[in-house]
Symmetry: C2
Subunit: 409 residues, 2 copies
Amino acid sequence: MAQAKKSSVLTGNMLIAQSGGPTVVINQSLVGAILEAKKQSAIRHIYGSLHGIKGILGENFIDLGRESAATLEKVARTPSSALGSVRKKPTPEDCAKMFEVMRKYEVRYFFYIGGNDSAETAHIVNEESKKTGYELACFHIPKTIDNDLRENDHTPGFGSGARFVACAFQGDNLDNRALPGVKINVIMGRHAGFLTAASALARQYPDDGPHLIYLPERPFVVEKFLADVKRVYEQYGRCIVAVSEGIADENGTAIAAKFTKETDSHGNVQLSGTGALGDLLADLVKKNTEISRVRADTFGYLQRSFAGVVSPVDAKEARQVGALAVRHAVKEPAGGGSIAIRRKPGKKYQVYFERVPLQNVARDTRHMPDEFIGPDANDVTEAFLKYARPLVGPLPEIGRFKGFPVPKK
Amino acid sequence: MAQAKKSSVLTGNMLIAQSGGPTVVINQSLVGAILEAKKQSAIRHIYGSLHGIKGILGENFIDLGRESAATLEKVARTPSSALGSVRKKPTPEDCAKMFEVMRKYEVRYFFYIGGNDSAETAHIVNEESKKTGYELACFHIPKTIDNDLRENDHTPGFGSGARFVACAFQGDNLDNRALPGVKINVIMGRHAGFLTAASALARQYPDDGPHLIYLPERPFVVEKFLADVKRVYEQYGRCIVAVSEGIADENGTAIAAKFTKETDSHGNVQLSGTGALGDLLADLVKKNTEISRVRADTFGYLQRSFAGVVSPVDAKEARQVGALAVRHAVKEPAGGGSIAIRRKPGKKYQVYFERVPLQNVARDTRHMPDEFIGPDANDVTEAFLKYARPLVGPLPEIGRFKGFPVPKK
């Protein structure tokens, strides 16, 4: 940072923030960006805004350049947004205020780590900066356990969230095998079923659950759900179901949304933080079948924050996208952008990264492609399993007795 | 097993079964018993009954002596009861039938792995065997995440369950710090608060949650709960609450029981497998405070079955109690018994094991001792933390920025 600067280089301070739902690797991206920024002579101070754009509006910054290497590494391995997060869509007035603040603090590099809503925020900030003629390298760094960012093969945070879901189903499948009944597990995912689909990674033996998987990409029809559960229960004497919190009826109305009216400033209905959907589905099974043992669990916030369950490849890629965003911003600040993860074709898992325009990842989400969803809309395909396996890392090995029967006397 | 036998030794086949709620280390006890039995010449065949006493009544046995060493080790590391489980209290008729079956299969060693209800079953079987004059070494092998068996310093399964709860709170505390609000987490524990109390192990920094812990050992008073939450929220701008599923009002009526009528054959009200209690408490906070962000999660079955989150000391001790039960049974079959874990006094964590009478662990449970519960009935004490820390193993390290403030301009 002490080097002489070329006049063509955009020089100034850097501001970085985190937004939206945390993940267990979002701090890897933050630390990746900080460590890269420390190497860049164009970047003077590295400011962290507390609680996203709320911290910018309130000028609540910390000096990340002064944190020790040991602290940075420890924070990188720590779940949830170390700078705090926010769910706030900036108004045009907010944007005007933010530029005022950025100008005052000589911020020329702005990085926003988050999902599609955060990309939208970065996009709005970028557009406003163009309009007002304030030179600003405005970058989005991807993050979401939902795995629903466009342009990306997968997103940082998903692999670890998927690992949590898979490990949970490994254990819960065995729990349900020990004490048979119907078990319904509700998994995060507003519009994209990737995380719910990851439950299928838990299967090892032919009778392993989840036996049924319901995704927001297909209409949830109660009669079909009940028929599916009855059929599986008759076959296996038990049934484990993975359900996305975002499942919706034929009209696109989220089943869970029928029980809540809470929305955030992006217009999203609050789906997590309640066991209502699971309990509703369990009650439906109890009332419409003869099955006595019916239970529901809602995995909730543990999926995105549980300490100690991390996919190594997810952690590594999360750090890489943070570093790359800074490198691209310094190299070519104009226009801003986001860093997308792409997968190379071929059998071996390999990725590469590309800079993509902000509007390509902002606002709209992507869904599970059709080839990942089974024809009966209640399972995933082998293509999905091939896609997801390398992202979660090796799962705990599950042992089972050969079970040599003792002849009855 | 091929050695010549002394005439004074009780010789015959062994029958082992698992009962009650599974844990992630219950198969360590099973495999510990199997491996020890293989060394004992008094024991011929090692039969495993499928689904506890249900398998005995139905003569559904597998020959565990034929399983390979590799399979046994894999199963030992696998969560949930590999033989299947059951929640069934035997009637006197069941016991008569069981002896008939045991006699037919020349069973002289019976081991039942489970909690207090399972110890009660073993006790009933033992008493009936005395009455009918059928010579049977009848042993209980302890297991319960609830940690509520009498005679024991702690029980196999608790350390790993507590580790899951602590890791969950480590992450959830940071999630709540990133997106502040009130978060209520409901934890397993019908009458004993040990597992809920383990949430306190997550604390590292002074403002870390859980900020409030409610245990079944103290009456849950709604007005006090609301006042506690408001006070913490005013202090920290957020509040994480750990609540046992078994919390009860001044009359001893479980709060959750007001919403369900389902009971098992031991007369226990079904508390898990529903998000109702968490949602009820969240609604109370929403309706009685101005706090907008209020969420609840119910950890559910993940606490006892999640694959990959295991306390190493718990796994080791679980195997030891299995092996010791077999050793004691062969050495002195008469009277039966259970293996209890005791802790040696002193700073260093060390345990020893004792054979105790079945009636001492059967039926009744133990509770959190008073010195583990804070005077305001909403927290645990340092004495509890000292007690619990060695049982869960080292937790993931949580990093935090020093947070050097940038002066406002």
